[in-house]
């Protein structure tokens, strides 16, 4: 799985938490019958596209840098 290619567990956790917070990673994992790897890579691609980064589906250094920038979190519509 691309996220683990760097071998840095902390990066995986950073990416996971970020996607959970801003891209509904946890909820989509429950809702869709797909593996966490596929969902995470898809969420990474969405995030990279939004930030104008190279769309790789990997948590590469540029992506991790963008994730560490201060930002706004929009709560989802569900109660």
């Amino acid at each position: 799985f691309p996220v683990f290619q760097d071998g840095l567990r902390q990066n995986v956790e950073t990416a996971w938490k970020y996607l959970e917070k801003y891209y509904n990673l946890g909820k989509d994992l429950q809702a869709k019958n797909v593996t966490s790897k596929e969902v995470m890579a898809e969420k990474l691609r969405q995030m990279q596209q939004l930030f104008g980064l190279k769309v790789t589906g990997n948590s590469d250094p540029e992506t991790l840098r963008a994730m560490s920038k201060p930002r706004c979190g929009v709560p989802d519509v569900a109660p």
Binding site: P70, R71, C72, V74, V77
Partner: protein, 368 residues
């Protein structure tokens, strides 16, 4: 346009707001002013009006919270998550929550309350995040400067929800440059440690041999103290400095810092006469240390070694640079050439044979 899922929007155009509590970092009046100005950002471009209420809860409630505050979206202490907002709707809908642990400011220090509030109000009104890096609704905090202008992308999206402003003069917003736009023009261009940087509005486009695509970002990300809409820029590579011009001011930059004592005025720093009020373009010839300043159809020459203006200037640009007949908008040196830009056309001026040997459209640098 990307609007929040299911497109929630307010069905009335007059909305009320209330402020539940405050940040300890700013006086109350400053917080109130920041919120008022943030509302004005949106009321200027839509039919929406906003009124503060004191005795009851407004449609939009502003409050500061620390950590878990019972809405399933806990804050995380200083930095990272700054604020969040609920889409339009009753009760929690439209409410803006700020992280109480952030250092909120009313200046360019992190984090400017007006800027964050203006962004959050976009969500309150039904907008989701934008993909346009220049938009107020871009998801990450970029940089705040006093010359804030709403982006056209923000205007288009909010007007798609609420319609245009009833004002007879329709507001227009700033637009984000697209490197592959063949009509793109630049405010300034300079080399920077082997790379070429193009400037337009609040943005730079960076070109380096190791990156296949040009990088577009905000000038403030690299140099927070530089203004946008620069006039000119040039690199003095022998002292590892880049100088930026706007009006009669010059900023000297090394790495990511504006050097102490800058900005200075161009008259005292270079020795320009007082009737020179701006610089259109500048370039320093690496081999000789001679810097050329282009103003209208004339140019001045400055010696970086002696730090003085050469005598006998200004001279007509077209006379000494045959083929450069128009006003020079931007210029930089690469190898044995000066690249002169006028509107969206560039001319390659060979310094050895002293003539223009190629002319193309200006976007050839971006691997489009």
């Amino acid at each position: 346009y990307a609007i929040t899922y299911n497109n929630p929007r307010w069905t009335k155009t007059h909305l009320t707001y209330s402020i539940l509590n405050y940040t300890p970092y700013l006086p109350r009046a400053v917080v109130e002013n920041a919120i008022e100005r943030a509302f004005k950002v949106w009321s200027d471009v839509t039919p929406l009006t906003f009124e503060r209420v004191f005795e009851e809860e407004g449609d939009i409630v502003f409050s500061f919270h620390r950590g878990d505050h019972g809405d399933n979206n806990p804050f995380d202490g200083p930095n990272y998550g700054l604020a969040h907002t609920f889409p339009p709707g009753p009760r929690l809908g439209g409410d803006v929550h700020y992280d109480l642990d952030e250092t909120w400011t009313d200046n360019s220090e992190n984090f400017n309350l007006f800027y964050v509030t203006a962004h959050e109000l976009g969500h309150s009104l039904g907008l989701t995040h934008s993909r346009d890096i220049g938009a107020l609704m871009f998801p990450s905090y970029t940089w705040y400067t006093e010359d804030f202008v709403l982006n056209q992308d923000d205007i288009n999206r909010i007007q798609a929800l609420y319609g245009p402003s009833p004002n007879p003069i329709q507001p227009t917003g700033a637009t984000t440059p697209h490197p592959c736009d063949s009509h793109l023009t630049f405010d300034a261009i300079t080399t920077f440690r082997g790379e070429v940087m193009f400037f337009k509005g609040r943005f730079y486009i960076r070109v380096n041999n190791f990156m296949p695509e040009a990088e577009l970002n905000l000038i403030g990300i690299l140099w927070p103290n530089l203004p946008g809409k620069l006039d000119a820029a040039y690199e003095v590579s022998m002292i590892d400095q880049v100088r930026y011009f706007k009006g009669n001011k010059v900023w000297a930059v090394r790495e990511q810092s504006v050097l102490r004592g800058f900005p200075r005025d161009i008259h005292s720093f270079f020795g320009f006469p007082s009737n020179v009020t701006h610089i259109d373009a500048a370039v320093s010839e690496e081999e000789t240390g001679k810097t050329y300043f282009f103003v209208d159809h004339m140019y001045w020459r400055y010696d970086e070694n002696t730090r003085s203006m050469d005598s006998g200037y200004p001279r007509l640009t077209a006379e000494d640079f045959p083929g450069i007949n128009d006003k020079v908008d931007d210029v930089f040196q690469k190898g044995e050439n000066f690249y002169f830009f006028h509107q969206s056309v560039q001319h390659r001026f060979n310094l050895r044979i002293r003539r223009v040997d190629d002319s193309r459209d200006s976007s050839t640098w971006f691997n489009c």
